[in-house]
């Protein structure tokens, strides 16, 4: 009986250890999911990433302007969780009209300036947007 009781005690230790391990795993998974879900915006000029903004870490709104050798100017505005082109000197203004993006797979594109802003979200809601 003595050996049985000590075994039961050992089992309890195991169970505790296992529970601890599971808790750590759950926490890691949650952190990982948050890291993936936390939205990162990447600004590309002619296919080259020139700036990365972690939208989930933005506290104060800010702006920056992207220029190129052909005189194109796109002013980008960033707020907590979202990003847009607020002003541009392109003729079509498609990039400005696109408005804010903060979720989803739809990029902001300025064809004349060859500028794109894409989000890297953990689990996008759709695979593409037809328009």
């Amino acid at each position: 009986m003595q050996s049985l009781r000590s075994l039961a005690g050992k089992n309890k230790t195991w169970a505790l250890a296992l529970a601890g391990l599971l808790a750590v795993l759950a926490l890691a998974a949650a952190l990982l999911a948050r890291a993936q879900g936390g939205c990162v915006a990447r600004v590309y000029q002619d296919g080259v990433c020139i700036r990365t903004v972690d939208l989930s870490r933005v506290r104060e709104p800010f702006r920056f302007t992207v220029t190129d050798a052909h005189g194109h100017e796109n002013t980008v505005e960033v707020e907590p969780g979202r990003i847009r082109v607020v002003q541009a000197n392109c003729p079509d203004q498609t990039c400005v009209r696109t408005g804010w993006i903060g979720t989803g797979v739809r990029p902001i594109v300025c064809l004349p300036a060859r500028l794109t802003i894409r989000l890297e979200a953990g689990a996008p809601d759709v695979d593409a947007v037809a328009r």
């Binding site: 050996s3 049985l4 075994l7 089992n11 195991w14 296992l18 391990l21 599971l22 795993l25 998974a29 590309y44 002619d46 296919g47 003729p91 079509d92 498609t94 009209r97 696109t98 408005g99 804010w100 993006i101 989803g104 739809r106 990029p107 594109v109 064809l111 004349p112 060859r114 794109t116 809601d125 759709v126 695979d127 593409a128 947007v129 037809a130 328009r131």
Partner: protein
């Protein structure tokens, strides 16, 4: 005593289970979620290509080169393109490459069948509106009256043996409604040849080509943009392999001095923006070229003629959004389309085989 025998086995089993769970978590991420990706600017748009599997990287490199090549051949604004040469031949026959000839001949056949809803010789008119250059303006009625007689796809002569095309003097081609579709059709062949089993080619959002299903075996989820809110979706389509082509007035437009919205899809019979009652047309079709041509043609036709066309020809499904924010969907796509956002409670009319 039974417990002492089985406890270690149970512990081992529990550990194995944990390991399996961990492996299960890591599995899809490692094997499936990381596609090869390429983005490029071609055909006057931004393209985003994704493919999965061991052949994906090489296939996308080949695909990018092909898209750039086609752009160089088919562009209406590039002085080095074949179409530019045709448009500036002043009535003389012009030799075409195999790709340009095939595309033009298929497009002309399609245009002839639409009874004027789509015309590949519309370029003199769309240029007058500034849609290819960005210098937007409303042409005056006299100018349109002068240009409209040049719009006549039946006047284009193809010589299959010599592989040449001849236009009447002054006429000009624009393959804008077809080039991305043709590129998508060629891309599907290339991916199949390369053994790529899952790929999503976003050729500028108006033409999306899907190879296979998603790596996890599920359907692709393609959103249809809300025509009145670029940040919102009107719905989501669950799709297998094939193409999704969309035409809408909201992508390229300008506001005239009188406040009228002038969009880039023109009615070849009037030379003015096509206003037949639709805001957007999305076509699901196995062949991307047919889908691309159809989305523009159905937009010009309007809801009733579009439904008649579907009943008469079939071979595709479509989702139409009309001016009153109603959604019309052909019966083959009704189960695959879920309205969203402002359209969650929209009236959804299923277009059936019988009128």
């Amino acid at each position: 005593m039974e417990r002492t025998v089985h406890a270690p086995a149970r512990r081992a089993a529990a550990l194995c289970l944990c390991l399996l769970l961990l492996a299960g978590c890591a599995g899809p991420g490692a094997a499936q979620s990381r596609p090869a990706e390429t983005e490029l600017f071609a055909m006057d748009t931004y393209m985003h290509l994704r493919a999965w599997g061991p052949e994906a990287e090489a296939a996308l490199a080949e695909l990018s080169a092909m898209l750039q090549r086609l752009d160089g051949q088919l562009s209406v604004t590039d002085p080095g393109s074949e179409i530019w040469a045709v448009n500036h031949a002043d009535g003389a026959p012009t030799a075409l490459s195999g790709d340009a000839f095939t595309l033009l001949s298929r497009t002309l056949d399609f245009c002839a069948g639409t009874r004027g809803a789509l015309d590949v010789t519309l370029y003199p008119v769309s240029r007058a509106w500034g849609f290819t250059t960005g210098d937007y303006r409303v042409p005056d009625p006299e100018e349109l009256a002068r240009l409209l007689p040049l719009v006549d796809c039946s006047a284009v002569t193809l010589d299959a043996d010599a592989r040449t095309v001849t236009l009447p003097p002054g006429a000009e081609l624009d393959l804008g409604a077809a080039a991305k579709g043709y590129a998508g059709a060629l891309a599907a062949e290339l991916l199949a040849r390369r053994g790529v089993r899952a790929a999503m080619l976003d050729l500028g959002s108006s033409t999306i080509c899907l190879t296979g299903r998603k790596p996890d075996g599920s359907d692709w989820r393609i959103a249809v943009q809300d025509p009145e809110d670029p940040a919102a979706y009107a719905g989501v389509i669950a799709c297998g392999p094939g193409s999704i082509c969309t035409s809408g007035g909201y992508e390229r437009y300008f506001i005239a001095e009188d406040g009228a919205v002038c969009w880039h899809i023109l009615d070849p019979s009037t030379g003015r923006p096509a206003k037949a009652g639709l805001l957007s047309v999305t076509v699901l079709c196995p062949d991307a070229l047919t889908g691309d041509l159809l989305s523009t043609a159905l937009f010009v036709m309007g809801p009733e003629r579009a439904a008649d066309w579907w009943r008469a020809h079939g071979g595709f499904e479509c989702i139409l959004i009309d001016e009153n924010r109603n959604i019309l969907v052909t019966e083959g796509a009704a189960d695959r389309f879920t309205p969203m956002g402002a359209y969650t409670h929209a009236e959804l009319t299923v277009i059936g085989r019988e009128e």
